[in-house]
Symmetry: D2
């Protein structure tokens, strides 16, 4: 079965498996203090163009989000996010379980608007209300859209105005940074955010999310926090291997670019078919409308996610991954043609 | 450098890496709902000799402990543990971070005594005090000792008397079940505990801890809880691979038995050298006294952990793993001889 | 200065102060186990017409809400509330601080609709989402409206359908039960809710909220929970005095009825003036529009709350209390006439 | 029945009740922003001899402890306390419920030793362990002993060495400061602690604990924190009345001195009887041994607490209060004589 279900359906990019096999007779110290993790950190620092960031390797996105956000907030502070934000919908109240409220804003194409954020902070001054302490955004967003440099700068300005930390969920940062419409660099993100993560799970890694902390205030105690949240992996070198490979010879960016190129090809082909899109996305998540019967038929041979079910039509999501092939798209489009 | 630092220094048993390479072109659904996880669950159920347990795959020990214990307790309940228990010392207050107190008992050779537990419950009835709601024990313990069947039954009886859940941390369950002095089976443990985990990280797996829930009351919502704690891994099939391999042809037990055999050989050789043991352990963790200077010298060529530093002598810990070789022991003992 | 700021501006009804003075030479055991608390519980039970409820005396509303709701929920469960609900806006994320998410619904005249609740539960079945475990409603609501018996029954039915606990915040329950439009009795509320509280702070008591627990599952450990949340008052008999007085000779209901009668008189007079109401409320909270300049002028001699500030007009809130006088209303209306 | 059960058995000192009656027709704004609270704060500041402290009025001791300690700690930090500390035993894990671990030290006459604290901090540096972030001590302690100035200074020095906040639970601070052996002043305490509270509940107030925050870092957001923990009382002026009265004409100190004088008289008389003391205490808590049969007999006419039950003897606690009379002591001693 050909799958466009998501970008974490396969083990890992071959380079990573190859490396794991290579080092299988070697021994490493635990908890990310090994030489492979150090090498991976150095390589990421190279891409960031700076040495002053703390870089930590965690296992998954929810774990990473709750660990970083809990580090950022005082008990009486909330994190602002758009209501479609991953932490607000699909993380089983992981943030609230650490004692913090999420203040949800209405998204604009999946993104937070700086002016909405400004208004939220301006109206949360009553001492019976929670105070905003941090901002959570995702790039690419949960529906595949991306932030422009101007948009990110505008949010940074509001953060500075109110003394908020800015945190960027980069589960799909590779897809965001390598799509055609993007005008942000990894350096920009490090400059504008207090912390962010570079996701491997959804971009060819076997497991792993690399947290980059740029703000000195957030650095002390972060490994204690990781341990407390169950995020300090005993075999940390397994995580190190992911990033050491991904940040060698641009592998991270090459894999992401491939995802986007297959997605672009898919969009082109679907447009030729006359399929209607739910919304425009420049990255590896694409949402289209299909007749309900066509959806049922398509399920027999293809993996994808059902997004929203209507009376006659359903929105479905296709996601391309490092392992997606152009020929998979051809097959899909050819079969889809029969169903329209 | 030869290492006896711990049992999680190497990538994984070759069988596991081989399997990962084999399936690298295949696609799987996410979050542990795939066919490999199902196969692994079926194999574990076969070893347990029963079909009525829920089996979940998590990533690490601290994560597993906090997820299971938080599922067991009401807000006004504490978990009892010995003061040397892993959750009480080396998990950065992960249990307290979920809102629960640990009531610590004095250990006897690293183990909890049923009568101490009984006394603790009998004296915690005042409504200004916390109530005991669950019991945490480790097998093998943090110092390598093991529970006998009679000891585990006695604790179970106290749990029944006071209505407590019994949870067993099986990070090193393989070592416990395969050592010579053991009289417990996996089936016994499933019968006597409400939940326990079978650790892979410290027994040849790359990552992973398999939680077995036997008590029906603890089953509902456990996957929501996992998600909330960041313990529901997107690429769950990676965890499935670990257990599918480990529970094929007794691999889990063969690896553990090997650890214990190398440890036994080490004990025999160290006894011949006249080295003094900190305590008796029947499993893969061994603790000895060494002169402080000898420790410094030994560090140059061997990996091990410093346990307790005294004025003249230090207690150090050797841990054998699935990858330890008898020849490593010979080398160690030969070099150690020079230092005594 | 005449104040309509709120219903907790004065010490207490004279009956309560009188009783405190009467018993000032007596000694009582602590933590609500004294004979005055027992007497108060018996009197409330008499009004409820049943003996099978647990009744606890707590100090304030936020404390009561967080204690009861935390008792109701498992860690992976959320409480549903309307977005104007007190817990969702004005309690500094007290619920989230206990680890639980609030799922907010759009209110209808300040009230939750049973069908909205049904839809919320029906769509929260994904295991990456939080599950709904309890429902929070206020009667009277935060804007003075009240639930009809039919509305409360409809919500109860949805709760039964999904296995949810129903909790009613009765900070202003007196006002709700004694207003003209009300068709609910205290007995109805005890029958339809799993727990609720009868507020004294906002109805003539000096301090205190009486929690009534009708569902047996919620009873065990509640005093341990109270202690943990700082809600088990050492001098519990002070709280007992409040309820012993309030539930003697219908004082609770007489005070509330007075509040509503003064409010009704205020509404009549304001209508005669032609003032525009923000919304209809049958209880002791009344909201009107005033020109911004008039608001500034009125502030000089009257206490009230500013609810919403517009460019030309402001919504202000008048609250009547057990101590409000009809002559205060006459004075206010007379002065207001000059400002229109 | 004559009671020596505790120091919170009666409503309040007459001065306080008188004041409540006096102001019962007046109206006040809510949440402690009224003129009586301001007056009380000014009077306390006068006694402290400084204007730079934030002073907040809370309701009870457990509530106060959990609110202040949660303000002091980051999620990965613990509070150190002696194992007999109130927060460690009799608060139903209120601190742990805010997510923080208590690291318990062995007490010396109920007190923390600075060198024990130093050692604890020195050994908690491993990142798998919790870090110490704050210190909790009680004065007088849970068994009636008091800290000397030198002892408090020594603890302060360790706090400075490791960057810890120092918090003093002053539930019985009045008794501590007015006993004969005391060499500390309120000003000393303000100088040496980052925060502390002056307890009214156990010293003649009806309710209330006044938190004094001296460290600027702990001031921001404290009222939001109070609101979140259910500690921001709507009728804050009731709390203001307590402190306004207690800090007028030294009432607070006069009441406490009386408690101690009656206790001293009790000690003298019990010594004359030849009763054996469990330990020496210079304040209003006194612990003696009695034959088990005598305890049962004494219970018939006197209120007191059973502390520890032995096979033949029981330790019982007598507490004197602002309302205790010398004649009560005479009666007790006379009756006790018959039972020895």
């Amino acid at each position: 079965m050909i799958t466009f279900r998501n970008d974490y359906s396969q083990v890992a990019a071959p380079e990573i498996l190859k490396k794991l096999v290579e080092i299988m007779k070697d021994s490493f110290v635990g908890y990310g203090s090994d030489e492979i993790c150090d090498s991976a950190r150095a390589k990421i620092a190279g891409y960031l163009g700076r040495e002053d960031c703390d870089i930590h390797f965690l296992v998954g996105g929810t774990q990473t989000n709750l660990t970083v956000i809990d580090q950022m907030l005082k008990p009486w502070q909330a994190v602002a996010a758009v209501d479609t934000g991953h932490i607000n919908v699909h993380e089983s109240a992981a943030i609230e379980a650490t004692g913090h409220r999420i203040e949800a804003l209405t998204p604009h194409e999946g993104k937070m608007s700086a002016s909405d954020l400004d208004k939220l902070c301006a109206t949360h001054t009553d001492e019976h209300m929670i105070r905003i302490g941090a901002v959570y955004i995702s790039n690419s967003t949960e529906i595949g859209t991306i932030y422009t440099k101007a948009e990110l700068q505008a949010i940074r300005e509001v953060c500075d105005k109110y003394g908020l930390y800015l945190y960027l969920d980069g589960a799909r940062l590779g897809a965001a940074l390598t799509c055609k419409e993007n005008d942000l660099t990894l350096q920009d993100i490090a400059e504008l955010c207090d912390a962010f993560y570079i996701g491997a799970t959804k971009n060819g890694g076997m497991i792993g999310e690399a947290v980059v902390i740029t703000n000195d205030d957030l650095k002390p105690g972060f490994r204690n926090m990781m341990k407390q949240k169950g995020a300090l992996m005993a075999k940390g070198f397994i995580l190190g291997v992911q990033y050491d490979c991904l940040f060698t010879n641009d592998l991270f960016f090459r894999l992401a670019r491939h995802e986007n190129e297959v997605a672009e090809y898919l969009v082109k082909k679907l447009n030729e078919l006359g399929v209607r899109f739910f919304m425009d996305s420049p990255t590896n998540q694409q949402f289209i409308y299909l007749k309900n019967e066509a959806v049922e038929e398509l399920k027999k041979n293809y993996g994808f996610e059902v997004w929203e079910v209507g009376e006659e039509e359903t929105v479905i999501r296709f996601v391309t991954s490092f392992a997606s092939r152009f020929s998979d798209v051809d097959q899909l489009v050819s079969d889809l043609k029969e169903l329209l």
